[in-house]
């Protein structure tokens, strides 16, 4: 045995990892530096030349990275809220108040066996969850989260959203067809029938809004809802019937109770997902909850003012220039955290005799961070438009997510013929009525404005 091999054997596992990683990182860094030094200008030129593509790739990556944790949050929300509505406790084992349970579920589906039934169409079976997941992420590309914070600002944003969102049905049909299971087949066909039917009132209900706004760009639509700054500007109040139709049809689009026929467990086991397991099932599962968020988000964008606050905020400007602070900057950075932590730790140590000093210090540190984070958030909210916008947008969207969860806890499921009848007999005529009334009103008002006095 050579010296090298003996030394290698003596290393611990982290040691081995570092032994490999550090040289590797060094080589990679060197390679990057050399590449930039040699071809930097050309690469920059290519990137700038293809900026839309770069932006697309970048924003899709970011959305994917954001949406999986967001699905975790929504899944946890649903578990906990429905548990409380059922007078149960719900998840409380993993992490504080069970908050890590959905993360653990995510890890679990990663580790489970990825089973394909015999005689299933393996290629279609594998691609179905990918289609569902990627359409969910792609349709979020046009959502304006905050002023200046969006993937793409298209002038046909709304059309793009419905077109890509409607692609979900292809994935569900693929999954249902390829599973080699009749329950899956029925689930897939149900979802096709349901989503195609509800797409029509869903799209028609926003045509009136588009007439009013005069644009299909989601950014423009949000900006148009902030004329006076009050919530009365929201399209919800100018298009109440459209809002109602949109909310109902959107619930059906997201396959949520009371329209969750595609995965009705008391009828067709788990619908199109019956034969799925492991991460392929995980993709369906995440996509479902991402869809819930996206449907809430598009409702907020179209009808509830998007990123606009419901009331005009006072114009406070509190920008601090770090250079002007002088010696206070040193005090702020070096002394305030230490003193703050000690000051917040002291009460725990002094007034509770059982608390050890280090426990008190940890508590003080956590408390200080919470307070400092609060102050920092307030500062960011006041100073940056996009922080305030994101706050209101996410807040409103999650209020709607809560509404979806609430409906799931309360309502039974409708029957397939009732579902179809409702779409074609009630929602579609109502959407058309809404469209005609809006169009007529716009014509009359325009004519009155144009008429010579």
């Amino acid at each position: 045995m050579t010296v090298v091999a003996r030394t290698w054997d003596r290393l611990t596992l982290p040691g081995k990892a570092l032994f490999i990683l550090i040289p590797l990182l060094g080589v990679l860094t060197l390679g990057l530096v050399i590449t930039i030094a040699l071809f930097g200008q050309q690469i920059l030129d290519i990137l700038i030349f293809n900026l839309p593509i770069v932006r697309f790739v970048f924003s899709v990556t970011i959305l994917m990275l954001i949406f999986v944790p967001m699905a975790f949050v929504i899944i946890y929300m649903e578990m906990k809220i429905i548990a409380l509505m059922n007078l149960r406790i719900g998840p409380d084992r993993v992490g504080p108040w069970g908050t890590l349970l959905s993360t653990v579920h995510g890890l679990k589906v990663l580790m489970k066996e990825d089973f394909t039934p015999g005689k299933a169409d393996a290629v279609v079976f594998t691609w179905a969850p990918v289609v569902v997941f990627s359409t969910a992420v792609l349709s979020a590309l046009v959502l304006p989260f905050a002023p200046g914070l969006y993937g793409q600002d298209m002038n046909i944003g709304l059309l793009y959203f419905f077109a890509v969102g409607g692609m979900t049905v292809v994935g569900l049909l693929m999954g249902g067809w390829s599973s080699f299971n009749k329950y899956s087949l029925i689930g897939g066909l149900r979802s096709a029938a349901q989503i195609v039917s509800y797409e029509i009132p869903l799209t028609l209900s926003v045509v009136g809004l588009v007439i009013l706004a005069g644009t299909m760009s989601l950014n423009e639509i949000v900006i148009q809802q902030s004329r006076t700054g009050w919530f009365t500007d929201w399209f919800m109040f100018r298009q109440p019937l459209g809002f109602l139709i949109f909310a109902i049809a959107a619930t059906a689009e997201a396959n949520r109770t009371p329209f969750d026929l595609t995965e009705a467990d008391s009828e067709i086991v788990a619908g199109f997902a019956t034969e799925y397991s492991g991460m392929r099932f995980g993709f369906f599962f995440f996509a479902e909850y991402i869809n819930v968020f996206i449907i809430s988000a598009i409702t907020v964008v179209l009808f509830m003012g998007g990123w606009n606050a419901p009331f005009p905020s006072p114009h406070i400007s509190w920008i601090v220039d770090p250079g002007s602070l002088g010696l206070w900057l040193v005090i702020l950075i070096a002394i305030v955290p230490v003193v703050g932590t000690l000051a917040l730790a002291a009460p725990f140590y002094l007034f509770r005799s059982k608390t050890r000093w280090w426990v008190a210090l940890i508590l003080g540190f956590v408390l200080f961070n919470v307070i400092a984070g609060g102050i920092f958030s307030l500062w960011a909210y006041i100073n940056f438009d996009w922080v305030a916008g994101l706050f209101w947008f996410v807040g409103k969207a999650f209020a709607l997510v809560f509404l979806f969860v609430w409906m799931r806890g309360t309502l039974p499921r409708v029957r397939i013929d009732q579902l179809m009848g409702f779409a074609w007999k009630w929602l579609l005529p109502a959407a058309l009525l809404n469209l005609f009334v809006t169009a007529a009103a716009v014509l009359v008002i325009d004519a009155m404005k144009a008429a010579p006095k």
Binding site: D260, I268, G409, L411, P412
Partner: protein, 419 residues
């Protein structure tokens, strides 16, 4: 598919002819010509009806529902012949839970039979005990002490509420409601804890004895009962307000699975399923037994005969049961809880029938004694089995989504159906 032990080292042996090794697990041998399209049933049809059912028409398909479907109640398997979503014909397959109780009973002495018949309808075990015990008492011609009769009625009515509460939740679950079942389980759990304090068991109580009951009322039972009685009606009504005023629920349940009086009588239905068609037949009034003639209560009936009527009728019955419990507690006499009987009983040869009005209908027991210490024959008449026959008439024409709801509204318990 067979499994064999792989050799300890080296490559696995080549698979025998006609088989290949699974790619997932080389220890598993799969047959090459294994056909996934196995015909149902795997044998050639044995009767004309089977041949007719298992011939598919244009655009029809079979769907196996159960025995592992998440919402069949117990292990019922139903082969559905579907045309799209609409059920054309059904073929129920029973027997997955068959234990041969009636045969077991013939080889047990009279006291032991009580624990054998207990798990038949495991949701309402007390009634399964009540019918045979009364039949034996008629064979023996023994008089049960009045206090024992009151305790029987009291615990029986509690069990009826527990059973109905569970039904209400189940029915909602089959229509897609998530919350009602958990709310009604709270109700059931309180009663079950109460009965556990009285009988020592939560589910299979084994409480009634020939000539009385096993134990007297105790403090824990009484305190739990008093606590629960003070809020029972309000709690049940609040819970079910979630459904009764729900447009979706009412629209789905109304007019679904309609049974008219003539059909119900033809199928020998009893209990709430019969009373929902407008026939006020209740064994507690028509053939009074125990102390029921002394108690005041109404027999609620409805005339629609659909799922909603059956559901609402059970809610009414819960209220009547609470009335009966009130009166039992009010009139509870002092005295012994067991008649004086020898340890080993040998009734004289003869036969006796006894029926009690359970939560699902008439539980009957027909006992034949040959003079030994074991019953010669004990025939159990189970209402679930009778009611389940109606699915053959009710399901064709339904939508797939309504199958489970119709089945649930009849409230069959597979333990009792398969015996």
């Amino acid at each position: 598919m067979t499994t064999e032990t792989a050799p300890r080292s080296g490559e696995p042996r080549p698979a025998p002819k006609g088989t290949h090794r699974s790619t997932d697990d080389p220890n598993v041998l799969l047959q090459d010509d294994y056909d996934f399209y196995e015909p149902i049933p795997p044998y050639t049809p044995r009767t004309e009806r089977e041949a007719e059912f298992y011939t598919l028409g244009d655009g029809e398909m079979f769907l196996n529902m159960g025995p592992q479907h998440p919402s069949t109640h117990g292990v019922l398997r139903v082969v559905l012949k579907l045309d799209g979503e609409r059920v054309v014909d059904i073929d129920p397959v029973l027997g997955y839970l068959h234990r041969g109780v009636e045969k077991l009973v013939e080889n047990a002495d009279y006291h032991q039979t009580i624990s054998q018949v207990d798990p038949l309808e495991y949701i309402s075990s007390l009634f399964c005990e009540w019918a045979p015990v009364t039949a034996y008492e008629r064979l023996l011609d023994v008089e049960v002490p009045r206090r024992a009769e009151y305790i029987r009625v009291l615990s029986g009515e509690l069990n009826r509420i527990a059973s109905h509460a569970l039904f209400l939740g189940w029915f909602a679950l089959d229509l897609g409601g998530l919350t009602p079942i958990l709310w009604s389980f709270i109700e059931r759990d309180e009663i079950v804890e109460m009965l556990a304090a009285l009988t020592g068991q939560r589910m299979l109580f084994n409480y009634f004895r020939i000539g009385g009951v096993n134990g007297d009322l105790n403090h824990e039972f009484m305190s739990r009962l008093g606590d629960w009685m003070s809020r029972a009606v309000g709690q049940i009504e609040a819970g079910m307000g979630l459904l009764n005023e729900n447009e979706i629920f009412v629209r789905r349940a109304a007019g679904l699975g309609v049974i008219d009086t003539e059909m119900a009588l033809r199928y020998c239905m009893t209990g709430p399923n019969l009373r929902a068609t407008g026939v006020p037949f209740d064994l507690r009034r028509t053939h009074p037994y125990s102390i029921y003639p002394e108690l005041e209560f109404d027999i609620p009936t409805r005339t629609e005969g659909d799922c909603l009527a059956r559901y609402l009728l059970r809610m009414e019955e819960i209220k009547q049961s609470i009335r009966i419990i009130d009166q039992c507690l009010d009139k509870m006499p002092d005295g012994p809880i067991m008649a004086k009987l020898p340890r080993l009983i040998r009734p004289r040869p003869g036969r006796a029938w006894s029926g009690v009005e359970g939560p699902r209908g008439v539980y009957g027991a027909y006992a034949i004694s040959d003079g030994t210490d074991q019953p010669f024959r004990l025939k159990i008449h189970d209402p679930s089995f009778i009611h389940l026959q109606a699915v053959g008439a009710l399901l064709p024409g339904c939508l797939l989504a309504d199958c489970m709801a119709v089945m649930a509204s009849l409230d069959p318990i597979m333990g009792g159906v398969d015996k």
